[in-house]
Symmetry: C2
Subunit: 154 residues, 2 copies
């Protein structure tokens, strides 16, 4: 016999649990998907110990050498205070270097080290593997549509 709800008895976990209003909220689905996708990314790049944010920072520095910390922070929507710690970690691992700017001595120009360049190539191959997981999960067309719909947020 199924328990009736509403009388102080706990419903067994096997019952189907409706989401009610959450079904109509894009934010709920997006959040659940974002968690899934980050977990897959972290798992796929676990061997090289690189997380999504670290990957995004290295990719942008690699494609735009000489950027300041402020420029990277603004472009990626990361707090500048947070970026300090991220860069400390990447610098300790000899993947990124800060170079004192001569034109504006308050700021640092960011570059990948030689090792950072080589590592980033490897990270990109693994990230591409992750992206294939996404494609398998969503379907090729749906993934393409998704990227199109969200293109403004990049």
């Amino acid at each position: 016999m199924r328990k009736r709800p509403g009388n102080g008895a706990a419903r067994p976990a096997g019952d189907e649990i409706g989401l009610d209003a959450l079904i109509g909220h894009a934010g709920y689905a997006v959040r659940r998907f974002q968690i899934w996708i980050f977990q897959d990314f972290i798992r796929t790049l676990a061997a090289v110990d690189i997380r999504p944010t670290q990957y995004s920072v290295m990719t942008v520095i690699g494609a735009n050498p000489g950027l300041t910390q402020m420029a990277v922070a603004k472009r990626l929507g990361i707090e500048r205070a947070r970026l300090v710690h991220l860069l400390n970690s990447l610098e300790r691992r000899k993947l990124v270097k800060r170079i004192k700017s001569k034109s504006d001595r308050r700021s640092h120009a960011l570059h990948l080290t030689a090792q950072g360049e080589a590592s980033l190539d490897q990270f990109k191959r693994l990230a591409a593997e992750h992206e294939r997981h996404v494609e398998e999960k969503l379907g090729k067309q749906n993934r393409a549509r998704l990227l199109q719909i969200l293109a403004d947020f990049t």
Copy 2:
């Protein structure tokens, strides 16, 4: 004169900064969008001080009275340890109550209080307003497509 990158000089922030490989990653766009959508949700419900996770917990309890904490945690993908604190906060605000289950005295049956029911109605109206912001931002069709593409993750 534009600074050339790669010589230790910082690039001015005004330069266009390419995202390189990030452009092809669904996770990057999804993450940026998820941040935007949560910020809008938090802003839209700021007057009632309800955040997305709190809203999702109250909605599920409201639609499925008597659920155990484990059942809610599993359904929404929240850690049970995290849910304890969320419920403490909602219980302090007299929105939710825990009732000792008689059939299994380890567990609690979760219910909205009368005040919780009334408040949830208000939260849902505000959340619907937030959802209209999403629709304005994405376009009606794109929002519908997005929900369809991500339906498996709810």
